[in-house]
Symmetry: C2
Subunit: 345 residues, 2 copies
């Protein structure tokens, strides 16, 4: 654990501040890419940067004509982000590829840039066209599911689809003292009913979530009945059917912003078998957040994703984000085993 | 109606803008007081200004040693306010006192300043100590009750008591995608339930109203579960018992900011009889808004209040505020009759 932990610390401290501060496009993200390039070269990998700045280090296989097998994650962070988000997937990838050593297929460690603002690094890589045949991303869960199941690791089944909408409620502003209750058309009362409906609708659909994250009241004065409320709904579900049901229940119309992506059944099976080999429960779960893995999967790469348990209730995008050393060690072990099999078949 | 209507127009246009703009402390309010002073002098009344700038015009009675009888209202307005709010009670008072003529008691027309920000003019007059024995304020209802009852005029029973509080809901901010519905502690869901509870509690108490006028969500991002919500509750009821019940139902504790004030039974009876004399339904209703009449009543003045029907659903504090010429004429008639009786007894 020494080297990996030290590297996580180095990356965590690069941008200063209260947490990880490797904001996409900033100096700390650039220095993180340089640092990772050095570690890859020290490990004997051939390092390449694409036009967007994504870093790929390759360990040439005995049959380099076969499609490559990559692992990795992203190096940027949100402001004051967590220690493990993205960074863990990169430093663990280096350990795992070194542990596998020379295989039939060429192994690659990839460090994507600019994931947090919408997977721009992996989208650029897909647009550039130089892609592996298989990809495994190791990432912290950023949620409480594995912690609640007492499971160190989980295999991701799909990256959820999502839709974001603004909904406006029009009522009639009025005097809070002189308008009787039965003469009111209070936009906030209508909005409150909708907030509860959003929760009920998501609860009724397995694996779905929906959130009203913003809500603004007009005119917003203590003694004026609200005349208008604008709120946002963020609706997500593991597949298009369920997302469609959720949107219908919320009167949001049929448009899906980001389509759900199923991950590759073969890679998933390999990951599950690795968890079983380690004596761990082979938990499968969808990812509620977007990931570079989803971009590669949508581009036709046979993709799998391994989640590591987040502690502290799954808190993420915060310095409170925490994953134990023991779970990290298990994750590196499982990733190594999976890569070995994926690179030799 | 000619003179009264012309005077309302003059006052309405004083401050320019889209509605009444006689903001307390501003030039237009000062000019309104000067204009009213001129009208009072033209009518032969003795005009006096107190230290705060409130105007009183007196028509000396045959028994000036008796406590005086005043009528009037306020001359300031909210920004872009209505044509009738306050101003009607002043210009109608001039008409009514002229119509009564010399009576036993000295009659006074009062024009208070600075009512909209919290009855500061009448509070200053009460502090100054020069008060009448009886007071009748004519004012537009600023609500829909009389319009819904098809009644031109109404007698006010009480000025409601009110309490304003901020309520904070603490939850746990979290990722809108990775936190399952049953692992959430969403502050906005709790706040939405409270908004509906506020409505239900007020509906269950006759004459009570309660309003959540402001609501702010933190952090307020489309993809983050709300971690904290701050909202305001404005709760009002016609008497202390009912306001206490309302506060208890809303877990707001026992504190009352503004105590409810009962208006004088004798003055109310006189006003009711005037409505009957005019063949009108003798509707009685509480006032949900604060008024100078409430300040004088709380100071021990025998106070009554006559509401004139607001059209357009009772809209107020807006250029859309409307009261018909016919209703204004009935109000002046009722006020004249009431003053005559109150000044001769």
């Amino acid at each position: 654990m020494g080297a990996l932990d030290e590297r996580l610390d180095l990356l965590y401290r690069l941008g200063g501040g209260a947490g990880a501060n490797r904001i996409a496009g900033g100096d700390a993200e650039t220095r993180a890419c340089e640092l990772v390039s050095e570690w890859l070269e020290e490990a004997g990998l051939e390092v390449e940067r694409d036009a967007f700045g994504n870093v790929v280090g390759r360990l040439r296989g005995s049959r380099p004509e076969l499609p490559e097998v990559w692992t990795g994650s992203h190096l940027d962070s949100v402001p004051d982000g967590g220690r493990y988000d993205g960074a863990l997937g990169v430093v663990a990838a280096i350990e795992a590829v070194i542990a596998v050593g020379r295989a039939e297929r060429t192994l690659g460690v990839v460090a994507f840039r600019d994931e947090e603002r919408g997977c721009n690094g992996s989208l650029a890589a897909v647009a550039g066209g130089r892609l592996p045949g298989r990809f495994v991303e190791l990432h912290v869960e950023q949620g409480p599911v594995l912690e609640r199941l007492d499971a160190p690791l989980g295999v991701v089944t799909s990256i959820v689809g999502s839709t974001r909408r603004e909904v406006v409620f029009e009522g009639a502003a009025g005097h809070a003292g002189t308008t009787p209750m039965d003469a009111r058309d209070d936009a906030l009362v209508a909005a409150a009913e909708y907030v509860l409906r959003v929760r009920a609708a998501a609860r009724a659909i397995d694996g779905a979530v929906a959130t009203v994250g913003r809500l603004e009241v007009e005119p917003g004065a203590v003694n004026v009945i609200p005349g208008r409320v604008r709120l946002t709904v963020d609706a997500r579900a593991p597949d298009a059917d369920r997302l469609g049901q959720l949107l219908e229940a919320l009167d949001l119309g049929p448009g899906i912003d980001l389509a759900p992506v199923e991950l590759d059944p073969t890679v998933r099976a390999v990951l599950r078998e690795e968890l079983e080999r380690l004596g761990l429960p082979a938990v499968e779960l969808p990812s509620g957040a977007g990931h570079d893995a989803g971009v590669l999967a949508a581009a036709g790469v046979e993709t799998g994703m391994l989640f590591v348990r987040s502690l502290n209730g799954g808190v993420s995008h915060s310095p409170d984000e925490l994953t134990s050393d023991e779970d990290v060690a298990l994750a590196v072990d499982a990733l190594t085993g999976a890569l070995r099999r994926l690179a030799d078949s």
